[in-house]
């Protein structure tokens, strides 16, 4: 029932069918980057949507219609603070002669007396409508130590104050890349510690491309399903398969701005349905499906309530990944993951899937692989992701022994980010040291 309602809402909104929309329209999903990645928030844009920065609420209305990539800054007007679009200032290469700066930290004493302005004075400035930049200037003018600082520390000081008094917000398009990064940063366990470079390997090694039929076992909240659908662009199919009777939740698909054309290509079907030959009596089949549907509904309601919990908690604790819900009317994206039609299942039985991705947390990779691998065409590539090495090693060994696949390999991606600045380039001081393991191979015909 609810599904139908959602669909009507969507069609009224006239969601753009452009495969690569460049403007944030009302009702679409956006990623908000506060202060250069300090905080990442997913939101669905509407007139009533609100984002909390610091201790103030800001309406997201000014974002509607703005191109992705626009920058916003907090401004204070007569009716209080609001978000206002700013055009970036061209940065000149000012810091080229850093090495000649001979100042250092010998005269800096950490006694908390460096700042002459008091908290009350700053608050008073704000009440009088001072701009963030003006407050920062005042802070610098009243700092006893600012002039003594090394040029780079001065820049750092300014940046720190800017983040507090003049927060910036970047409007970004949600993509598999940014969604994965945001989750990896805040809730890595929910996506099985699948880092963005590992996700990119899965898509590459599974040869995901338009018009392919990709079988996935997605127990990472729909991240893999969404990433595959993004690469299919409304062609082929991504079929989410599962053990037992209830499909795994794929609620993260909502974060992508998928058109209905793309969403139609996301389907689900149990391993049993996909594997069973046409021998089962039709009656038995119907009964089975009745049970499935009932359980699906239960599952859907429970997963929806999970999301609500997440949304509510997001407003109380300012997390890196929050979900902002418009206060008045909840506009939801169309549901993905309809049941695969009989005809489609029949087609897969005849042709086989063109590739397979398994990202199943808390499941033994081999026990899934042995059931789903026969559903693949010969010469089809497959990848199995896991956060632990041992089960993949066992799985690889069994595939070798069973002569089911060739070109088997376990790889672990390693990713390091660099700070690149004039005379100050070096790897980041902190890095993620683990992004998961990937077992890849090619299915062969054993006959």
């Amino acid at each position: 029932m609810e599904l139908n309602k959602d669909q009507t809402v969507m069609s009224e909104d006239k969601k753009p069918q452009d495969p690569n929309p460049r403007f944030a329209c009302e009702g679409c999903s956006v990623l908000l980057d506060v202060n250069d990645g300090d905080r990442l928030v997913f939101a669905r844009l509407s007139g009533g949507a609100i984002l909390k920065i610091g201790n103030k609420n800001y309406s997201l209305k000014p974002l509607i219609g703005a191109p992705f990539g626009s920058l916003f800054q907090v401004e204070t007007g007569e009716d209080g603070s609001f978000l206002s679009r700013i055009l970036p200032i061209k940065q000149e290469n000012s810091s080229n002669n850093v090495m000649e700066d001979s100042r250092d930290n010998r005269e800096i004493v950490d006694n908390n007396e460096a700042q002459n302005l008091t908290g009350e004075e700053i608050e008073a400035m704000r009440r009088e409508g001072a701009k963030g930049d003006e407050i920062i200037e005042a802070l610098i003018a009243n700092s006893k130590t600012f002039d003594k600082k090394f040029q780079l520390s001065q820049e750092k000081y300014k940046l720190k104050k800017q983040k507090k008094y003049a927060p910036k917000l970047l409007l970004r398009r949600p993509f598999a890349r940014s969604i994965c990064e945001a989750y990896f940063k805040k809730y890595p366990a929910r996506i099985g510690f699948l880092r963005v470079d590992a996700l990119s390997l899965l898509l590459t090694m599974a040869n995901v491309t338009a018009y392919s039929d990709v079988l996935v076992v997605d127990m990472v909240g729909g991240l893999v399903t969404g990433a595959v659908a993004e690469r299919l662009g409304g062609t082929g199919y991504v079929c989410n398969t599962y053990k037992g009777n209830s499909p795994y939740p794929v609620e993260m698909v909502r974060m992508f701005n998928f058109s209905d054309k793309v969403l139609e290509r996301i389907v689900q079907s149990s391993i049993k349905e996909l594997s069973s030959a046409n021998t089962a009596s039709p009656e038995g089949n119907n009964q089975q499906e009745g049970v499935c549907n009932a359980e699906n509904n239960i599952n859907e309601t429970s997963s929806t309530s999970d999301i609500m919990v997440e949304e509510i908690s997001a407003t109380t604790e300012a997390g890196v990944v929050d979900i902002v819900v418009p206060e008045s009317k909840v506009i939801k994206a169309a549901k993905a993951g309809a049941k695969a039609s009989k005809e489609t299942i029949e087609m897969w039985r005849e042709n086989g899937f063109s590739s397979l991705i398994i990202a199943a947390q808390d499941q033994d990779p081999w026990s899934i692989a042995k059931d789903v691998l026969p559903l693949l065409s010969y010469s089809a590539p497959f990848v199995i992701y896991h956060q632990y090495l041992q089960p993949l090693a066992t799985c690889m060994h069994k595939l070798q022994q069973g002569k089911m696949a060739i070109n088997l390999q376990i790889t672990e991606p390693w990713l390091r980010e660099y700070q690149v600045l004039p005379s100050r380039s070096h790897p980041h001081m902190q890095m993620s040291s683990f992004g998961g393991y990937v077992l890849s191979g090619i299915r062969i015909s054993t006959t």
Binding site: R22, T209, N351, Y378, A393, W414, E417, R443, I444, S445
Partner: protein
């Protein structure tokens, strides 16, 4: 190579035909691309294989030589192609390729510019990502290399998705006609900073640029230039560690109590290794002291550096 040509798409029913490109797989590190031709033969150290024997067989099957040795015939994918293509230049490998395609946010329908074409390793993956309606414009200043790349794209069946042009991008910039049309730009040039201003002109607003450079000095200069028109400038290094998996017999008898007298020599590893065969025989009798375990460890050698990947997003001014 891509399922956009529906009759060539992978399927249980899909059989090898005269004229198909297949990858002949001997071992994970011995593969070869072969164009099936009914009168031709393939000769390797295992003997002679007649192509005519292959026609009508499904992909992913074993085929035998006159000496009874077999190889597998596989459908080409951009990954297999990267392993078998002829290296006219240093090429990009799977870890960098995957990361670049993901970070450039390339999806079906995108327009991507690339320079240089090199051996076409990345171009093939870009073509797969933009298919069926997008396009890759690839530029190389080397005439011969451009010709070879075109021939390769013809062979792999992606020529409708990739256009190769001879052009010195560092010197002349990208052609004016593509101005404002590119979703993403990829640069693999000796002096990428020279091409950055032109790349900025080609990109749509919010479009992403990537520059691949082996040396940090190149990255340094590129980033300095990028700062005037781009935001979110980030530099990464991505590598792969591969694992070998083996079934190993492990002696699980404890050092005290149930052990054999030889265990006293456990301090001398050489001697112990020597005896391991006997241990296994003994354990089979007792059926408790040695168990076989599947274990994994990283391979001893790996590629230690390929290049730095710098990404940047065109500032949104409109």
């Amino acid at each position: 190579m891509l399922p956009t040509e529906s009759k060539k798409a992978l399927s249980f029913k899909r059989c090898i035909e005269d004229g198909d490109l297949v990858i002949v797989y001997e071992r994970h590190d011995v593969m070869k691309p072969v164009k099936v031709s009914k009168d031709a033969v393939l000769q390797n150290r295992f003997g002679v294989y007649k192509h005519s024997d292959w026609i009508g067989k499904p992909l992913g099957t074993k085929v035998f030589s006159n000496k009874g040795k077999f190889v597998y015939l596989l459908a080409p994918t951009p990954e297999l192609w990267t392993l078998v293509l002829s290296h006219r230049t240093q090429i990009l490998y799977i870890a960098d390729i995957s990361f670049v395609v993901m970070y450039l946010e390339v999806v079906p329908g995108c327009v991507v510019l690339e320079s240089g074409t090199g051996s076409g390793s990345l171009s093939t993956s870009l073509a797969r990502a933009v298919a069926p309606t997008g396009h890759v414009y690839s530029f190389d200043f080397h005439e011969q290399r451009a010709v070879s790349a075109r021939e390769d794209f013809e062979k792999t069946g992606i020529s409708s998705l990739v256009t190769v042009e001879v052009r010195d991008i560092q010197g002349e910039g990208f052609p004016e006609k593509l101005s404002g049309l590119a979703d993403s730009v990829f640069l693999d040039l000796p002096q990428p900073w020279l091409a950055v201003p032109s790349a900025a002109k080609m990109l749509k607003q919010d479009g992403v640029l990537c520059s691949f450079s082996p040396c940090i000095e190149q990255v340094q200069r590129t980033c300095e230039v990028l700062r005037s028109d781009f935001i979110e400038i980030r530099t990464f290094e991505v590598l792969l560690r591969t694992y070998e998996v083996k079934e190993v017999k492990m002696d699980t008898s404890s050092m005290v109590g149930e052990s054999h007298e030889e265990d006293n020599e456990g301090m001398r590893p050489c001697k112990r290794k020597h005896r391991s065969n006997e241990d296994v025989t003994v354990s089979q009798d007792n059926s408790s002291n040695a168990t076989s375990v599947v274990m994994a460890r990283p391979c001893s050698e790996a590629r230690g550096h390929t290049g730095y990947l710098t990404f940047a997003r065109l500032q949104c001014l409109a």
